[in-house]
């Protein structure tokens, strides 16, 4: 049944793409995030869906699509440089087998991120990419949200669409991705033109946001709780009545507390007491090890270089309660522990040059989105509210990712590269609109008299 539904869906989208080849690009975004070949059980698992849709998206653009307003931006060049650097470090990787295995999916994520902005050359295309991104993450989040409500959660045990705690279906990763998607959902609810704002759209978006918030609870991922806190702070920048928002958020949390599973509250309680938790203690040790490793290997050890690590540390164990509370220390030896941080993942695997490129890619993105936000700020009479709101959503999503990434190794995750690609496309469109009045598209009408596109004049 699942296979039939998924195959019918993919077949239908492929067919629609013959009329509008850009739809194949959207199909690849969906396949890249959801991995339908892993959801099914039968024939779909043997199909090379990712490859087929990748070729369709790429060939559709190169052969059939117009290149009008397609621009190659600095950040796309940075992605290509990072890709080339990753290829170079893979050639000399310390662990060749696993490095090449990781390379097979990393290069696709990066290549597609460098390519995607070329296709997102109109507002509607950008909006539809954001929409498919949100619905693809939403497919996983709604599923996890419903299962969490019915008590199917637990650390490493919440079964999402795929019964495999890896890739985007891994608890901490989907928690970060789901929370990072919330700003995009809010943008679509307010400024969407494919599904214009209305009662049904707001209802669905509210349910989707609620599902996304449930994911960290269902997966018991502490990173997710940190991401929710970041989201709360970021939303304060956006809302008109900050105090009312803060009071309501606080009240909602108090009301929600009794309903949270005990396992979740216990695990969240360990956020501050890292000394008594093996997972948290390991992180600190891995980060120390990676720093030392980078001193010896400044150019990085290639993908999965963490396999070389081994360290012994003291783990505090608390037994008893009240006056009988005793703390004993035991020696724990760990080896081949993952980085548990994207920053250290980049440092260990790609060395200082790779980390610098990766940080430049993100830093530049934050700065570009901030520039758009300021130029299109409410005080500007000729502001483009659509671009302002999208820049805000993409910047917030990126900030949530960057905070979550401090605790999870998601430096190469495709959902993050898709976010970067959408930022590149927005930057490119904004530059065309604001910086190059001599170009034909922008020269048709002066900015002040130019009516906003349909997507920008939807009622809020």
């Amino acid at each position: 049944m699942r296979d039939l539904v998924l195959l019918a869906f993919i077949g239908a989208i492929l067919a629609l793409g013959f009329r509008r080849p850009f739809i194949w690009v959207l199909l690849y975004i969906y396949v890249d995030i959801v991995s339908p070949q892993e959801i099914g059980w039968g024939i779909i698992t043997s199909l090379h869906l990712s490859l087929v849709t990748f070729i369709a998206a790429f060939a559709g653009y190169v052969v059939l699509d117009s290149k009008h307003n397609s621009r190659f931006t600095l950040r796309q060049a940075l992605i290509v440089a990072l890709l080339a650097w990753c290829g170079y470090t893979t050639l000399g990787a310390a662990f060749q087998d696993s490095a090449w295995e990781k390379w097979t999916w990393v290069w696709k994520s990066m290549f597609f991120a460098a390519f995607l902005p070329l296709t997102l050359r109109t507002r509607l295309r950008l909006e539809s990419a954001v929409l498919v991104f949100a619905l693809a993450i939403g497919a996983i989040a709604i599923n996890g949200g419903i299962k969490t409500v019915f008590g199917g959660g637990g650390y490493g045990t919440l079964t999402l669409l795929v019964d495999d705690n890896s890739g985007i279906y891994e608890g901490s990763i989907i928690s970060t991705a789901a929370i990072a998607t919330i700003p995009l959902v809010l943008f679509l609810a307010r400024r969407g033109s494919l599904f214009p704002p209305g009662r049904a759209v707001w209802l669905f978006c509210a349910a989707l946001i609620f599902s996304c918030l449930l994911i960290p609870i269902g997966t018991n991922a502490r990173t997710g709780l940190v991401c929710i806190a970041v989201l709360g702070v970021l939303l304060m920048r956006q809302v008109r009545h900050r105090f009312a928002f803060a009071a309501l958020a606080g009240a909602a949390m108090l009301v929600a507390l009794p309903f949270l599973p005990q396992e979740f509250t216990e695990r969240m309680g360990t956020i501050t007491g890292f000394r008594g938790d093996e997972s948290a203690s390991t992180r600190i040790e891995v980060w120390k090890w990676t720093y030392e490793y980078a001193k010896e290997h400044p150019l990085g050890g290639g993908f999965d270089a963490y396999r070389a690590n081994s360290f012994t540390y003291q783990l505090a164990e608390v037994s008893g309660a009240g006056n009988n509370r005793r703390i004993s220390y035991s020696q724990v030896t760990d080896s081949a522990r993952a980085y548990h941080s994207s920053y250290f993942e980049m440092l260990g695997e790609q060395g200082w040059p790779g980390l610098a490129l990766w940080l430049a890619l993100h830093g530049l993105g934050l700065w570009q989105m901030e520039r758009i936000r300021r130029r299109e700020a409410p005080r500007r009479a000729d502001r483009d509210v659509w671009m302002h709101d999208l820049a805000t959503a993409l910047q917030h999503a990126q900030l949530i990712f960057l905070v979550g990434a401090a605790f999870v190794g998601i430096a190469y995750q495709s959902f993050m590269f898709l976010l970067i690609a959408m930022q590149c496309a927005l930057w490119s469109q904004w530059r065309l609109r604001r910086k190059a009045p001599g170009r034909p598209a922008a020269a048709q009408m002066p900015d002040d008299t130019r009516p906003a596109p349909r997507s920008a004049i939807n009622p809020v």
Partner: protein, 58 residues
């Protein structure tokens, strides 16, 4: 059951969005959105009929 519901809902919405895209000229040309937004009454008209319509603000 939950899985099927989720798949039908999310995939149905993506399919509906893709279907809607087929009929949006501004998917490929930014200018189409400007014309559509400024003169929505022309959206479904052939170019020859356009001049006969009374003018109105968008």
């Amino acid at each position: 059951m939950i899985d099927i519901f989720t798949i039908l809902l999310s995939h149905g919405l993506i399919l509906l969005a893709a279907w809607k895209l087929l009929f949006r000229d501004d998917l490929d040309h930014e200018d189409a959105a400007i014309i559509e937004a400024s003169r929505p009454w022309l959206k479904d008209r052939a170019p020859a009929d356009a001049g006969e319509e009374p003018a109105a603000d968008a």
